[in-house]
Subunit: 512 residues, 2 copies
């Protein structure tokens, strides 16, 4: 660990309200016109951060085969300025006028009981012993901090950072559904997956072709109520209905904390959680879950077990260009994706699986039939429009590069990871995983890895439980033990709103 | 069984294209102006059917406490004429111009493989031995018949008859969702059910107050991906996590065919299907499912087991005024409802539970978290708008009574049941359940029962399997055996499109 530079520490605290710490944005005084707060004071200062940001994301020298895609640096100006302006407005409205949020609607109304619960959340861990469930909701979940010393909840991977992108998209992502549309259970009975909306199917395949992250051709698309439902559908599909003993479900630690709970909550006779794949012994039939890039640590993964007794489910929720370089098109038997981590629309509860084998696809479809008789058409109608807007952003003329989701996401993640690594340096009591850069076939450039979660390790002497330590500083994270790892680790969401992230960075920097 | 009158038989065949058999509608000739086909030839003929329709639905003499609700007969004119006009147009476009459906979009494109499957569906039963799953999809599912001798699929309870109502509602049921809305997993963390949209919660409670079918006050609302997910959530909530043996899940036969399959598909160690409640013996802990009005037979039900060892789940999917008189507000511990049977929006996959006990509600919410991390916000946004449009139809000024869903549904069901009972008489080889009329607190009048399904019994000598018999005449229904009943019974959906229903009536009338 390098010792933190005094300058970086000061910068971390000084620019509390600014989205980008080295941008010349500051809190507007009450009597100052808005433009004064965002107008650069000098060309020199305005240009500096862009040059810095582009250090890790070199400009491209030749046009992409994907149309008008330009280098991230090329569109930095607009994004940075618009983003910072937006954040300043948000920060101002948040801290100066707490009765308005960025939608112009009142913020979540924390009643007395909820406030008590919020305080209680700091005493009792939301992930106390014996509770391994994925979601542990407190009154701070999904909401923005209400003061500078508020609880910062980064336990969930709530992708609210994408909201500003979709606001910037104007009406491109809007959809109107008429009262008479989508009445029937059935979407397309000529498709094996009869509850899959054809337009959503089309846009999924189009997006995979655009990004090049997975081979959709030759695969069946199975839609699910989020990839959580599809994960269970895949377990069901891979387990023989007459199996005398439950199949062992394993994943190399650290594994996604939801896998054990979702596998075991119904005590199914078909499958059972069997822990860390690396420790798996015996000749029993198993299912290995491979999450790549991995939740929680962002590593690129392959199956660790190579036996013929096993089948593999590839969870590719984070294999998108904003998080990791796209090095090749994955082409596995079962690949899971989710709208929430692709576009940010977690509330739509929508995912899809690319499935090679027809019988496996049929069994997965049967699971979704039995579990929920299909999947919301409203979410599918909407997601088709959202995916279309993303692909259009790359494939239609877009001279100002305003509508490129992956560019937005990659830039924002690069800034956040830079801020996080700086804060970790300043604090001196944490460490983070390091990643190699790789050539990204989507951007046509070398790119860094910016995972959706930070897998933070507490290096401070005497601290054995990082989650408790952070909780004592009103930062809610997820304990490493839920991922089959040591308590010195926590998982922290990198996808929350700007102001939540900035407050987190400031507080983390102050810990010693 | 009365022997059929020759006139009724003739009428059943003669008015093949007409929505209401005794309305003076006929197929428009190619060179005839549209108005000629729907203009009544005489006042006498035009008034007759309304008088007939109103025999079973007497007019009200005093204004309802629910605002401008008037008797069904009072709005018959408009509904009948508009409905018949719509159906004639549909029928014309269907049979004269098969490339257009009622939406102006091409009908489902049956490719070669699908056509083969359609033929195959007539050979192999979609519910063959050993398959007890709820949905058995064939190429005819959810689609309209393509010719007069086409397969008629009434196996599923696809509520497509509601589409014409929502078309008539104009933009009242439309919703626009902006690209940036509904991003977060969380809807309202101050609510125990943190993924329940407040507006949907509000409109659910408002609708129950309007209709008076269930007590929502003092109950928690738990939203689910259809009532199918909530049914499983309730099983999970009522089963002790550490139970050494699975709880017995029972329901009095004939029970909803989906209950056994949905209870058992994961071979849960928490609960297990144990069949007909009336045959249940022993002192084991059990869960009794009470569906009232019952799917498949429309009967009003109470629990048959009264032991203290049991808990009850009340499935009230069909306890709405279009299907049955509302005699009182149900007030049970767990009551399940579904948007699909209330408003027709099956494609939205949305249901709700009213739950009295906080700990049971918490466990149900935990199930939905683990199963799908909440429920589509898009569906909830939309359903809130849809329920609002229904309540507004009764509570806002509505002088032409155009926008009253339950009036529409009740009238249409009354006409369909009249047609069905006539066809059964004409055929002479079937029987149907009979129902007592009751005073409906919602309409303030006596009302008949018009179940969403017809529980049809084949009385023909030598026919032991009614489903096979009907299948040989290209009518797909669900075999009584799936409901724990004899094969002489089948369940037939009464909620399909007008033209499918009319084709069914014509074909049923012709069977001897």
């Amino acid at each position: 660990m390098d010792s933190p530079s005094p300058d970086a520490a000061a910068a971390g605290r000084r620019h509390y309200f600014a989205f980008l710490p080295s941008l010349p944005l500051r809190l507007r005084k009450a009597d100052e016109p808005l433009s004064a707060a965002v107008t650069p004071r000098s060309n020199h200062r305005l240009q500096a951060p862009v040059a810095k940001a582009s250090e890790k994301v070199p400009t491209r020298s030749k046009p992409s085969r994907r149309g008008s895609l330009i280098g991230f640096a090329g569109l930095s100006w607009e994004l940075l300025i618009v983003g910072s302006l937006a954040l300043n407005l948000v920060a101002i409205s948040l801290f100066a006028s707490p009765s308005l949020d960025e939608d112009g609607a009142p913020p979540l109304d924390f009643d007395a009981e909820a406030s008590v619960a919020a305080s209680a959340a700091l005493v009792g861990s939301p992930h106390s012993e014996g509770r391994d469930e994925e979601i542990s909701v407190s009154s701070t979940s999904g909401s923005r901090p209400t003061s500078k010393d508020a609880v910062i909840n980064l336990d969930h991977g709530d992708p609210t950072m994408y909201k500003s992108f979709w606001k910037r998209m104007g009406h491109r992502g809007d959809i109107t559904i008429a009262g008479w549309q989508g009445i029937s259970y059935f979407s397309d009975v000529t498709n094996l997956c009869w509850f899959l909306e054809p337009e959503f199917d089309h846009e999924i395949r189009r997006l995979h072709r655009l990004v090049g992250n997975a081979v959709a051709d030759g695969h069946f698309v199975v839609v699910g109520t989020g990839s959580t439902q599809l994960f269970q559908a895949a377990l069901y599909a891979l387990s023989p209905p007459d199996t005398p003993h439950p199949l062992s479900v394993v994943s190399a630690a650290p594994y996604y904390s939801s896998y054990p709970a979702v596998t075991d909550y119904l005590r199914s006779g078909l499958y059972r959680w069997a822990g860390d794949a690396s420790a798996f012994k015996g000749n029993n039939i198993y299912i290995e879950l491979v999450c790549s890039p991995n939740n929680p640590d962002g590593s690129i993964r392959e199956a660790v077990l190579k036996s013929e007794n096993g089948t593999i489910i590839h969870d590719l929720a984070y294999y998108w260009p904003q998080y990791t370089p796209i090095t090749h098109a994955e082409d596995h038997d079962i690949m899971l994706f989710t709208v929430s981590k692709t576009t940010g629309h977690a509330g739509s509860r929508l995912g899809w699986a690319l499935v090679k084998d027809k019988d496996v696809a049929k069994r997965m479809i049967k699971f979704v039939e039995l579990n929920s008789i299909g999947v919301s058409k409203d979410s599918q109608f909407r997601a088709a429009k959202i995916l279309k807007a993303i692909s259009d952003g790359y494939e239609l003329p877009n001279p100002k590069n305003k509508y490129k989701l992956f560019d937005f996401g990659h830039l924002l993640m690069s800034v956040r990871w830079k801020r996080l690594r700086e804060a970790v340096k300043v604090s001196g009591i944490f460490s983070l995983p390091e990643f190699q850069s790789s050539y990204c076939t989507f951007t046509g450039k070398r790119a860094e890895t910016y995972p959706a979660f930070a897998w933070l390790k507490c290096e401070k002497e005497g601290v054995e439980d990082c989650e408790s330590f952070l909780r004592s500083h009103k930062i809610l994270s997820r304990n490493g033990k839920h991922f089959g790892a040591a308590r010195k680790y926590v998982r922290i969401s990198m996808l929350d709103r700007d102001e939540t992230f900035e407050l987190f960075i400031e507080r983390l920097s102050s810990l010693t």
